[in-house]
């Protein structure tokens, strides 16, 4: 993985997000439009007491029946059919109204409702239709002062031959969906006639089957008009919103990926550095062992006891340095090394080299935590190593206490060997080089040290804050 791949990935995410958001918005918009149209269609007309959708269902069915009847009749001419239709209508005479036009779409006839049967049940009506082979629209209509109230177009050949009553109230829908101009004209021309109508429809044809047919019709109607296309077209704002969302998503993905990539890179580098430090640390230890071995070779060639002892001391100093090095490697920060922790670790390590391996040093911190930088702690380690090693080596059984205090501008480290009666001279007699090292280091650290020769052996180191 690299930044180039992340960029390509983010661009890909951008396009995917864009496609998804536009698709979702298109879909949502289209659903909304459909729901809107449906809500109009299913809205109940206050006068009709039926939904437009139901009215439409009835009208379509009526239309179908009239067409079937026309085909069945075998009439070939429009005039014949027209006469036939009129005869059927007049023959039925009840509960129906028909508005008939000629082939030039001129209003020529309407059938007034003389008989109204509001209790006509669907079953009865079905029987009625069956028995009389009626083709007529299954509408019962009440009109107070108009001749027709509901209109359904009937299409025969190239002529619009008739309208079953009923479409007046659908005007509000159809004007939105660009219906046949002629129909609008008819409705407009007879507006006054329709204005006071009271219409109620009882139809047995509002059944599942018819609803299904009408559902098909509904879609047919709405798919054709140009306005529908316009309604269904995705608004420009959708693209803008999609673009914005996609940009944000892609940007977030890019930032997250880059951030993750960077953190992986950092972690990898950190691991590499840690591995390098680990290897280096152990290389140093190995090299120190090589130096000890070299000194050992020198010792073998030496006959003077004093020289041999000096070589042995040198080996011990190498071990001391290795010890400090080991402790520094273990500390989490090289800038702020915890003095108390460092001293505890140092004593634990030194005790391993004591005769019985026992650690009998009690460490007490008598102030708040103290932190030294690495260069200072190395020297402190060397001093303590000199003193404590001497105590372990020459006075192993003696209980020891080490305390760390903070006094004014100094840190004070007190090493006490309880019950050890010795003098300064005796203490350093076995440890001459140690004292020299102590003096040099104290000068460098601008500190000082002193002994108290009382009942206990007390060694104090003062270091500036």
């Amino acid at each position: 993985v690299n930044t180039k791949k992340i960029t390509i990935f983010s661009i890909l995410i951008f396009f995917i997000a864009l496609m998804l958001t536009v698709f979702v918005q298109n879909y949502t918009h289209s659903r909304k439009t459909h729901d809107h149209i449906k809500s109009i269609l299913t809205r109940e007309d206050e006068n009709l007491k039926l939904s437009y959708y139901q009215i439409l269902s009835s009208l379509v069915l009526a239309q179908e029946r009239m067409v079937k009847r026309w085909i069945k009749s075998g009439r070939q001419t429009h005039a014949d059919w027209l006469m036939d239709a009129i005869s059927y209508v007049t023959d039925i005479k009840s509960y129906h109204a028909i508005y008939i036009t000629d082939k030039d779409k001129q209003f020529i006839w309407s059938y007034p409702v003389d008989h109204f049967n509001p209790t006509f049940s669907s079953n009865q009506f079905d029987d009625h239709l069956k028995n009389r082979e009626s083709w007529i629209s299954p509408l019962t209509v009440t009109v107070d002062d108009a001749h027709f109230s509901v209109v359904s177009p009937i299409w025969i050949d190239d002529n619009l031959s008739g309208y079953v009553v009923g479409l007046l109230s659908l005007k509000s829908i159809f004007k939105q969906i660009q219906i046949d101009d002629f129909l609008i004209e008819v409705i407009e021309n007879h507006k006054t006639a329709f204005s006071n109508h009271q219409l109620s429809i009882n139809t047995p044809f509002i059944s599942e089957e018819i609803l299904f047919q009408n559902q098909r019709l509904q879609y047919k109607i709405f798919l054709e008009p140009a306005l529908y296309k316009e309604l269904m077209a995705t608004p420009r704002s959708s693209y803008l919103i999609g673009l914005s969302i996609s940009l944000i998503v892609a940007l977030l993905v890019y930032i997250a990926s880059i951030s993750k990539f960077q953190s992986t890179l950092d972690r990898q580098k950190l691991l590499e550095k840690r591995a390098l430090l680990y290897e280096l640390h152990h290389r140093v230890k190995n090299n120190l062992q090589t130096i000890i071995s070299l000194v050992e070779i020198y010792i073998q060639g030496e006959t003077e006891k004093l020289q041999v002892e000096k070589y042995r001391t040198l080996q011990k100093k190498i071990i001391s340095m290795a010890l400090v090095h080991k402790l520094l490697y273990k500390t989490p920060s090289l800038e702020q090394v915890d003095v108390e922790e460092f001293i505890k670790l140092l004593i634990a390590e030194i005790s391993k080299y004591s005769q019985d391996g026992e650690n009998n040093v009690e460490v007490a911190l008598l102030c708040e935590k103290i932190y030294f930088p690495m260069d200072k702690i190395i020297y402190l380690g060397l001093i303590l190593n000199e003193v404590i090693s001497n105590l372990f080596q020459n006075y192993p059984q003696c209980p020891k206490k080490l305390s760390i205090e903070h006094r004014d501008k100094f840190f004070k480290i007190v090493i006490k060997a309880i019950g050890l009666k010795t003098t300064n001279t005796v203490f350093w007699s076995n440890f001459k080089e140690g004292k020299t090292i102590l003096d040099v280091i104290m000068r460098q650290l601008k500190g000082n040290y002193q002994f108290h020769e009382n009942h206990d052996f007390i060694f104090e180191i003062e270091l500036p804050v």
Binding site: K285, Q289, T290
Partner: protein, 120 residues
């Protein structure tokens, strides 16, 4: 009679240092090899009272693998691992010890004596 010590160490100066430290006491005679393979070959031919084993032996088998082979052959001679690296998991082996580099010659001699003393 001097105890025989096998030193397996690829750094010859270090091996020499160990050898001199041990032989200085007068109780030991050391034999140095620089690889695990050489150690196995020598162990086929001779018996030792203690083995000093470095862990990183350069190319070829490392100290732990060599020890594994030695134990597979039924050899339970005390083995003292000496390494600058932290002690590996030695729980699978019996009669093994670990010393961390750098170490004082005295400590090495003390540990060898202790290992041989405990070895039945």
């Amino acid at each position: 009679m001097k105890k025989h010590i096998l030193i397996v160490e690829d750094e010859l100066l270090i091996a020499k240092g160990h050898c001199l430290s041990l032989e200085e006491s007068g109780d030991y005679e050391c034999f140095c090899v620089s690889s695990g393979e050489d150690a196995l070959e020598l162990l086929n031919a001779a018996q030792f009272d203690c083995i000093l084993m470095d862990i990183n032996l350069g190319d070829g088998m490392n100290g732990v693998e060599t020890t594994s082979k030695i134990r597979q052959f039924g050899n339970i001679t005390p083995i003292i691992f000496i390494s600058a690296y932290p002690s590996p998991d030695l729980n699978n082996f019996v009669n093994v010890f670990f010393l961390e580099k750098p170490l004082m010659p005295g400590m090495l001699v003390k540990q060898v004596a202790k290992s041989i003393l405990n070895f039945p």
